[in-house]
Each structure stands twice: as structure tokens, then as C-alpha cells.
Amino acid sequence: MAATQRAPAQFKEGHLEVDGFQIRYWEAGDGDSIIMLGAMPWGLTHLHHTLATAGRVIAFEIPGLGQSPVNDRSTSLKELADTMARATAMVEPSGHTLIGESFGANVALWQAIQSQNNVEALILISPSAILPSGRFMAATPGEMPSLLFAHPENRHKLPQLDPVVITKEQQLAQRLKAETHDSEAANRLGEIQCPTLVVFGLEDKIAAKESASVYREKIPNCNVSIVYDAGHAIIADRPEALASVVSDFVERRETFIVGRQSGLVNP
């Protein structure tokens, strides 16, 4: 995308009070708004910086994830999605692209279902809401890092995950039933009318990548992208590939299937 020629954006940290939570976020760039939901376990990544060269990125830390306090208040993913929708409306009251990664993708999915008017495009990275086999792979905090990557050595490219944080996040996920198949979300996929991109790593050992076809079949305007040689943490295994497909979809939506890379050898 042309905007990648700009200088790297400087992210600024901010906080919002929503539903009794103090929600931390980072913001950078200008232009169309791109809302990102994630745990932010690794802080700002190549994806955040790439997107901030093309639009206004607001990356939320979901209550209960990352460095935020334990979230014992939200009673369901739908309720947590409502909280995030309210947070989003405070920073961007009109249309925006919504991106969620991993647990954040499950929250983004519900936000898109419940707040359709403002979500102009939806991107789900490694979502685990749809689990044809019922549950995603259970893992201890010690096992989790090795399950995240296609190549374990890639874990060293990012800050080491804190076992305490992993345990806190897993407990929240269990309490909100985010580790089991969300049949209600599955039944409501057809309500999502905006252009949607679902991204999976080919070697994802945590989310059910075979669910990609379910999203593609049920969401009326859905594209699926499989990132080769990447696990659940695509941002670690193939950061450039992830940023390429996501930023291209943010810019062009469903027309991103039309190639525009030049094959010219010599003029």
C-alpha cells in the first residue's frame, strides 16, 4: 500500500472509563479508523505499525487481558463485546474497520454481530469462536508458548509471555466459555453484512483452522486467507505476510482479490 512510504507513526497511550473498566488503548496515524482488539501481550507489533501508516489505529487492551486487572465483571463474550463497542464509540462514533486477534477476534465477532451499523469491515485473525470439534486445544501456561508458533524459535522475536498473565487470560476465557464452540455466534454469522476477512495460520495448533470454511460459507461477504508456515501467533511467525494481507484488505476490502503487484521485469 502506498501509505507504507510514510514515516513510522508514534503511538500514544490513553485510557477510557467504560462499564466500570479502565480500558487502555494506543492510538496513532490519521485517516479512516481501524479499531484493533487484542490482548496486546507483545505490545505494538509490525501489524500495528503498518496499519498506522495508512489509517488511524486505535488498539484496545481488552479488560482482563494483558496488563489489565482481572476481569471478573463481564459475564459473557457478548457483554464484553458490548463494552468494547461502547469504548469504540467513544473514540470513533462513526464507521470503522474492526480487527480482532485470537481471543480479541471472538470479541470482535460479537461486536460485529451486535453493532453492525458502525463496523464497515471486519477482520478476524486466528479466531476460535467456531470449533467444529467442540473445544480448542487445552494447554497449561507452560505449554502455551510452544503451541502459539509454527516455529518455536520465533517466540524469541517477541517479548516473553508472563505465565501469570497467561493464567489470568485463560481463566477469563474459560469463564466466558471462549474455549468452547460458540453455537450462538455460529448461528448468527449470516447477519454480518460487512466485508469480512478471516485469517488463519496453516500450522495453527490452538484455533480450529478448519473452521475457516464455516466463516466463508455463512458470512455473505467473506474472504479467507491462509498464512503459510504460521501458527496461531501469525504476527510472530510471518509478520510481513500478515501485515500485507490485512492492510490490503483494510484498504481495498473485497476488491483485494484483484492483483496489483507488477510482474514487470524490465520496461
Binding site: 460459507e217 482479490i257 484483484v258 496489483r260 510482474g263 521485469v265
Partner: protein, 373 residues
């Protein structure tokens, strides 16, 4: 006038496809696919038995209305069952492929068929620009350079390097070389002025698809003018027209069947791109940036092709009993100089038995009359 059977090899349950392209693979049952190929082969064998001159295969991706993403594979299979007819690759989307590989495949096929291959190249529908992620802005340049390279690769007696704009090879030495010398005939399938000019200036044939007779006549007139400027005139075999046909025992029978097909939604399913994707392809073909927020019609340069595709969808050029269809064919021969008509008998709602009956009727009642003009 010669007759060619367009071996569509349509998936027999294609009427169940969704309207939009691409058709998900889940719509394809291998049992049905295998039977569809077998049905198509039977249609080819019958056409050859009845005296058809060519059998053509085409390149289409991600639908199943034509189960031929690789027309060369299909042609090789047909050639094993049909030992006399010319085998026309009508056509290949060369701009997406490695032209050397295409030349090698043609070399093989021409030897395997004893020199019965006819090549053809084209740009195709908007959806054809998508499967291999080629930049549509470069399709024209890749096609023209690719055609030059294929011709060189099939005729050059010594290894050579190619320093092109889109293709770059340090050693090219295609083996086997084709049986036909200097090479199998090439037909450019197009209605675009620049490609018609290319065909004329390179002494290649011209194929036009689905346009009405007056439009075909105009294109052929220009083609002949440019051929004259290049110092040659095409033979009848070098002016090809592809069309859909619905042949009945009588005009009334054909019209009645047409009404039934229309009621079922005449026209291939699984072909519709999202509107803004179509606009993006045509904007790119015109070398323009596409803004997804706009809802404008395609840019002027592509309007002709875009509108032509939209207008012709689901239309049948030849409809009627044998007398009427023979008369319609004669119009194309007399007004346009068409020497070969390439006919698709498989419509969206027709089945194999109907197609076999139509091919049989055509061979008995229409083909003998075509020989007279």
C-alpha cells in the same frame, strides 16, 4: 463452412451452482464430475462421427460450467478418443502462465495428435484476471509478449535467451517441437482493437465470441483491412465464431424449449463477480486506480468489453429448427466471412441426453448444408 464442437465439459449439476463466482469446491461431487467428463467425451465422439471438423476446449477457472481449468489436459484426453478432428485450444489465458511451459505443452500435444492442434489465446472475462493474482493492468502486455514468445519458442531451431518486459529466460530450447510447420495455427480470440491489430500484423487468425452478426461483421471488416495493410488475407479457417446453440426438430420445438430454459434461469450460474470487484478489474485494465468507495461504471476504455459481456450473458445466438439455424449460420458466413463456427450445445438447464440429440440432429440436418457455403 466448418463446424466445431465446443467441448464445454460442464458439470452436469451446474444449475445448482450459486450465482456468484467463484463456485465453492464443496459444490463439486467427484462422482458427478467424472460422469460429466464422460458425458462430454461421448459428445465429442458423436460430433467426430457425424463429421464435425474441430473440437475445442477452453480455459476457465473456479466455476465448473466448464470443467477445464487446463485446456491442454482436456485436449489430450479428447485426442485419445477422437482420432480425426482438429483439436483447438480455444483458448488459453496465456498472460497468466509461463509461455515456455505453454509452448512445451503444445509441442507435446501436436506430436501426440499427429499434428492436429490449433492454438488460441485470449484475455477472458473479468473473473479470469483473478485466479493467479495477475495485475490486470499488465494483462494486455503479458498476452502480447507471451504470444510473441510462444511463436519464437516453437520455431527457433537453436537455444535462445529472452529478455522481455514480463518474461525473462536465459535459455529456451523447447522440445518436442510441433509436427505442424512452422507451427500449429494460432487464433487470437478477441473483440479488442489492439488484439485484432496484433492478429492481423502477425498473420494470425481471429475468433469472436457470442456477438451478434452485425458486430462480428464490423470487427472482421477491420481485421481484413489490417490484414491487407500487412500484405495478406486470412483463409476461412482463420475467422472463427463461437456461439451457443439450441437446436430443435422444428422452430416451434426449439422456441418451446427455450421458454422452458428461460423459466429455469437461462445463463451460466457461478459467473457473477461482486460489482465492485468487476469495476476494480476493469479500472485496473485501464491502468487506473480503483476507489472502492465509488460506484461508477467502468472507465470508458473498458465499457465496450464490460457491456458486451453483460449483454451477451445467457443469450443464444442460434435458436430454431435445422432450416432456421442453417440460415442463421449462413448469415455469419456471408456477412462476416466466418469459416468455422464453434458451437456450445450445453446450456444451463440442458442435460447430456438432450445435448446428444441436438448434436446428432445438427450433424444430420445442418452440417451437410453448411458444406454448401
Amino acid at each position: 463452412m466448418k463446424a466445431s464442437l465446443f467441448a464445454q465439459m460442464g458439470y452436469s449439476e451446474r444449475h445448482k451452482f450459486p450465482a456468484t463466482w467463484p463456485v465453492p469446491p464443496s459444490y463439486h461431487d467427484p462422482t458427478v464430475t467424472m460422469q460429466s467428463y464422460e458425458d462430454g467425451m461421448e459428445e465429442c465422439e458423436l460430433a467426430e462421427e457425424l463429421g464435425f471438423d474441430w473440437i475445442s476446449t477452453s480455459e476457465h477457472h473456479y466455476s465448473g460450467n466448464r470443467l477445464t481449468p487446463n485446456p491442454v489436459v482436456m485436449a489430450a484426453a479428447v485426442a485419445q478418443r477422437c482420432k480425426r478432428v482438429k483439436i483447438a485450444l480455444l483458448g488459453q489465458l496465456l498472460q497468466h502462465h509461463n509461455p515456455i511451459r505453454c509452448a512445451e505443452e503444445v509441442g507435446m500435444l501436436d506430436n501426440l495428435t499427429g499434428g492436429r492442434v490449433i492454438m488460441s489465446f485470449l484475455r477472458g472475462l473479468a473473473s479470469e484476471d483473478i485466479p493467479y493474482t495477475m495485475n490486470p493492468a499488465e494483462g494486455r502486455g503479458r498476452l502480447f509478449e507471451g504470444m510473441d514468445l510462444v511463436q519464437k519458442a516453437l520455431t527457433e531451431p537453436q537455444p535462445f535467451a529472452w529478455e522481455g518486459r514480463y518474461y525473462h529466460y536465459r535459455t529456451v530450447s523447447v522440445c518436442p517441437q510441433p509436427v505442424q510447420k512452422p507451427m500449429p495455427p494460432i487464433i487470437v480470440a478477441t473483440r479488442s482493437e489492439d488484439a485484432v491489430r496484433y492478429a492481423a500484423s502477425h498473420k494470425l487468425g481471429l475468433a469472436i465470441s457470442y456477438d451478434p452478426v452485425d458486430q462480428v461483421a464490423k470487427i472482421v471488416e477491420k481485421y481484413r483491412e489490417w490484414c491487407q495493410e500487412a500484405g495478406w488475407q486470412p483463409t476461412p479457417d482463420q475467422i472463427v465464431y463461437r456461439a451457443s446453440i439450441l437446436l430443435g426438430e422444428t422452430d416451434q420445438a426449439a422456441e418451446d424449449r427455450l421458454d422452458e430454459l428461460k423459466a429455469g434461469g437461462l445463463g451460466d450460474r457461478g459467473m457473477d463477480l461482486r460489482a465492485n470487484v468487476t469495476r476494480a478489474v476493469f479500472a485496473a485494465r485501464d491502468g487506473k486506480e480503483f476507489d472502492r468507495r465509488t460506484r461508477e461504471a467502468p472507465a470508458a476504455g473498458s465499457q465496450g468489453a464490460y457491456q458486451a459481456v453483460q449483454a451477451r450473458r445467457g443469450l443464444l445466438t442460434f435458436v430454431g429448427g435445422p432450416d432456421t439455424v442453417a440460415g442463421q449460420l449462413k448469415e455469419f458466413h456471408d456477412q462476416c466471412g466466418v469459416g468455422v463456427v464453434d458451437l456450445g450445445f450445453q446450456q444451463s438447464g440442458t442435460n447430456h441426453e438432450e445435448v446428444m440429440k441436438e448434436i446428432d440432429l445438427f450433424g444430420r440436418e445442418v452440417l451437410p448444408r453448411m458444406r454448401e457455403f
